[in-house]
Symmetry: C2
Subunit: 410 residues, 2 copies
DNA sequence: GATTTTTTTCTCGACAGTCGAGAAATTTAG
DNA sequence: CTAAATTTCTCGACTGTCGAGAAAAAAATC
């Protein structure tokens, strides 16, 4: 359904545009903003004056003039305009980061996760305590926290911050909105971890390729298997989605997966699955909860020495991944695939299977192999994705509510 | 990448909005347009005056006043504002329809397709002749044809009107843009047939459910298998895509498909595939080019009488479809599935397999079975999808180019 | 038949936004 | 100290939307 436009909306959009180029390029002068946004100088004056009055941006102190003419006055976000808390939930720990409005990391710590199955209730309590702790350490008032951005592996509701299914809690849902709402006014968003990796890679790619960038998928290999897809939206930036890839059906009546279903991709390509088939344990054995990486390293070493059974285990994993990716490509469009996560250290063993698995589908035979690259530093990408996404959400909210609020009350 | 907004853009968007409610609801009075669009009466006056001057809409002749007060003046599209040619390519014929700007069918005929494999070049020539013929029969000047909307089964390029792969011509690409460009100034768009079915069903659904509508998939069963997905876009209407579903990998190293690959869904669920397995022909047999529906009806009759082998063939087909749909759902979100096409007459035989195939995946076990409905009249839906899509494209183009042009020259 | 009521459409002034041109500000070069 | 260069700011013109009320036109009422 289309919806009406108004002149006020124009100002809102252009204000967000100004803030976004400030994000992308750091502190900028009036003229540069005008160049980047294609807005006229007069408009930039109006918008920046408004944002400055609303205490969202500030003029930086004069810097040594670097040419002749009137010296530039750089504009930048006010760090203290608001704060963001990033919560990264991984299988063994929860990391809390406090970030200011300019994207600068202020404080960070991790808390080990107790592996008891007591579950979701206790976990939520721990997250609430962690949030209060990082707030307390930094002496920032709670109202100044504008957004809490959470990520986890697993399946996430697309509209509300609800963790629908996760490797740790299974189908025990966690609704972060209602868990945090009485205590926090901040907006809460939740994203799949691999989605954020894809978002970060997509943003990087867009800087390099500009308008040529179309889409990209990130595949994360580890104890579980995740996939994130970024597509260039019509106009409104990027469109991202995190399918339930790890638990997509690979083979009907196949190996038993942690999720209780048979034949998931993860039941062939997850770390526990590789372990299982390397030890020739029957495929309907209940899988191990947690596999030390050292264990898998040993299997990989044997495979590299030429032992057939462990090599076959990796090959089977690759095939499952390749078949799954080919199915994904059948449903979307041709796009490059970036592989991240701890599993990349076994890429040499997985590669042949992946390529063979991909090659078994019509779309790949027709369009050729997609580009596959291995990307390290998954953790950095996750955090980068959080920042990209969260800060642009804040920019929008602040323009919609903040500027008008100040205008009305001042 | 965000892009700048301007007041002129506001007018454009609101003009398109006015035209779109006129499409949806037929001839409307000033007041009604204001109600639907939430634009003020003054704005409606300005926009409609402009559109009327540009000869895009017109005031209808006074109708018998149906209440007291000043009688309403209905506004409607001018039929002669422009014309649309719809070309529906099916396996045995090509149907040409001439439609005016108000969406009214003016002329229509079908031409049999010669089944010779001489191929794409001759086919393109036939289409060009068909287009000239329908134009000639109606005595409309060629410049008045604003859009040619083509549909076919198969895989379509998402940005240009290029048929990348089709059941008939295989990988022999057909670029309708370059084929028609010297002769026609009209814009040319090409869509997958099942995509249009999905678009039409989505539009119907949106009228019923309004903002509650989220997404929907249409599955077309016949000689080939097609899938279209409609999702409610962020703001810009609906977002639609036509995956290469029929040739998504069902089972590695499976039955041989028409496309030359092994294990496609179509190699189990296409009409020729059902025939093949009902006659217990080996799965690597080169499939029949064309299967008369009567042939399949006979097999279905036997299956309904309780013969095991034909029943098994339908069951296998259902399993392939169900597995494929479950994979689709793993990659998107839960959505209802509408089944159309000639294959719906065997739905009683397919159903159990489809449901079993769906149930084998994690996502379905978790979220439950998606709603499945059988929808007849695929042909009507295809045409309806053409109109929805083509006329809104015309509306946009006309506002962007037309109004400004008139303004500038007048 | 004249007047009132009701409903719809049109018009006017206020307000918000963008833009181009030129004025003002401020530094370096000579 | 003046001229040139560069950046920022300001002003008037233009386009857009909106609310309120005037104008139009038919039915209802007296």
């Amino acid at each position: 359904m289309l919806t009406k436009s108004s002149t006020e909306l124009v100002r809102q959009r252009n204000s967000v545009l100004v803030l976004s180029v400030l994000r992308r390029h750091g502190a900028l002068a009036h003229t540069e903003i005008s160049d980047f946004t294609r807005l006229s100088s007069a408009t930039i004056s109006a918008i920046t004056a408004e944002l400055e009055k609303a205490q969202i941006i500030e003029k930086s102190e004069q810097q040594p003039a670097s040419g002749r003419g009137r010296p530039r006055v750089l504009l930048r976000q006010r760090r203290d305009c608001g704060y963001l808390i990033v919560v990264i939930i991984s299988s063994d720990a929860v990391q809390y980061s406090l970030v200011d409005y300019a994207g600068k990391l202020i404080d960070r710590f991790s808390e080990e996760r107790s592996h008891d199955p007591a579950g979701a209730v206790r976990f939520v309590a721990a997250v609430r305590a962690g949030l209060l702790r990082i707030l307390d350490r930094s002496k920032i008032s709670q109202e100044k926290v504008l957004l809490i951005s959470i990520s986890s592996k697993g399946l996430v509701n697309s509209t509300e911050p609800v963790l629908v299914w996760s490797p740790i809690f299974g189908s025990e849902q966690i609704d972060f909105e209602s868990a945090l709402r009485p205590e926090w006014q901040a907006k809460v968003i939740l994203d799949n971890e691999t989605l954020l990796v894809a978002a970060a890679l997509g943003a990087r790619e867009e800087i390099v390729k500009g308008a040529d960038f179309r889409s990209l998928a990130a595949l994360s290999l580890g104890h579980s298997v995740g996939l994130g897809i970024v597509r260039r939206g019509n106009q409104t930036g990027q469109e991202i989605s995190a399918p339930n890839f790890g638990h997509m059906l690979h083979m009907a009546n196949g190996g038993l997966c942690r999720c209780g279903t048979r034949g998931c991709i993860e039941a062939y390509a997850g770390f526990y699955a590789i372990l299982r088939s390397a030890f020739e344990v029957p495929l309907d054995t209940i899988p191990a909860k947690f596999v030390p990486v050292a264990e898998l390293d040993k299997i990989a070493a044997k495979a590299r020495q030429g032992h057939r059974v462990p090599a076959f285990a990796f090959r089977q994993a690759g095939l499952a991944l390749g078949n799954g990716l080919s199915r994904m490509l059948s449903l979307t469009e041709r796009m490059p695939i970036a592989i991240t996560g701890p599993g990349t250290r076994y890429y040499d063993l997985l590669r042949q299977g992946i390529e063979e698995g991909l090659g078994q589908s019509h779309i790949v035979r027709m369009e050729g192999m997609p580009e596959i690259r291995v990307v390290a530093d998954e953790q950095i990408l996750v955090f980068e994705g959080h920042l990209n996404r969260a800060l642009s959400v804040i920019d929008e909210d602040i323009v919609v509510s903040g500027v008008q609020g100040i205008q009305a009350s001042g």
